[in-house]
Amino acid sequence: MSPRARGILATLAALALAPGALAVLRAMPAFGDHPLPYGDAVNRIAPAERIVSNMVTAVNFDLRGFDTLGEEVMLLAAVVGTVVVLRGSRGEGVGDRPATCGDRPIPPRSEAVVLLCRIIAPLTLLYGLYVVLHAQLTPGGGFQGGAIIGSGLLLVWVGEGYNAWRRLVPGVVLHALEGGGAGLYALMGFGAMLTGAAFLTNVLPLGEWGSILSGGVIPVVNFGVGLAVSGAFGMLFLEFLEETREPKDGEEP
């Protein structure tokens, strides 16, 4: 199909769908002024029942904890798929050769960049850990904190370069984080079954209001998600960075 025919077809489809979209728009409830039965129920019940103050975390890791396990496995599947696609026939072999890109010279890193990254990267990693650990108290959680930790890992690469990054962040550690985090989540579910309760029931003591350990299994599964997400982002960076390197003789790209 030529681009012109495609454009005409898309315009026709949009014209056909426009009345429906407009009808939906007109039928939408008034913004900010309509009943929210599920949200209100969560806001009413969860603080007392689960001793957590962040309702989004309560929904994600307790009330709909099973869905989050599915989401976690989906993330794992997507990362494994990316790794498989990128590695291709390169295999598991990952070298410590410096990154090159054709015959382009690699300019030395500016000292200002190195200094800035050495200051910012540990702070970012620490902040990510803080966001992961305070999931049930303040805004944040395993997914958000894991993403911040992932950006911290990338800052280490910006400051120290590829070879130092590979030494500081070994691939096997990232694999263990990714798999172990998802495994910890599933194991907490099966652990609840050992006590005779249903999968992922909150069987641990709930703790005190405002404590970092409050919420029973919520901090544990959340920590598992934090580990898995930081490992996932690390693995993605690792595989995409491997792509920037020139293949060695006889190596498949």
């Binding site: 913004f31 949200g39 806001n43 309702m55 989004v56 993330l75 990316t82």
Partner: protein, 114 residues
């Protein structure tokens, strides 16, 4: 202006769709997919909004004070994670495609024209 959030969601979806229709580069197409997905974030967050309500996090105001819907916020969180993972996978596919065929233009990649 109570229809503005719905219009923004629709606009993001539509502009992303237009970009995908006219895209001449797969990386651009993946970016358009992300724009389309942002429309769903706006739609979900707007559906859970309530005038005069605080965040659904009761660490600095006591439980029982009016708060917006935490369920849709949890859904948006899921949405963003799924979007990031899918984007990474699609970019990896685009990278391999470029290695094999040397182009990322959908028009050049038709199997019959090879």
């Amino acid at each position: 202006m109570s229809a503005l959030p719905w219009l923004v969601a629709l606009w993001l979806f539509a502009i992303g769709f237009y970009g995908m229709m006219t895209s001449r580069h797969y990386v651009h197409l993946i970016g358009c997919l992300s724009v389309m997905q942002s429309g769903t974030y706006v739609l979900l967050l707007a559906a859970g909004f309530r005038w005069g309500a605080g965040p659904p996090i009761f660490s600095d105001h006591p439980p029982g004070t009016p708060a917006v819907d935490p369920v849709v916020q949890a859904l948006v969180l899921t949405d963003i994670v799924v979007g990031a993972a899918v984007t990474a996978l699609l970019l990896a596919l685009a990278l391999q495609l470029h290695k094999r065929r040397g182009t990322l233009d959908p028009e050049e990649l038709k199997p019959m024209r090879r």
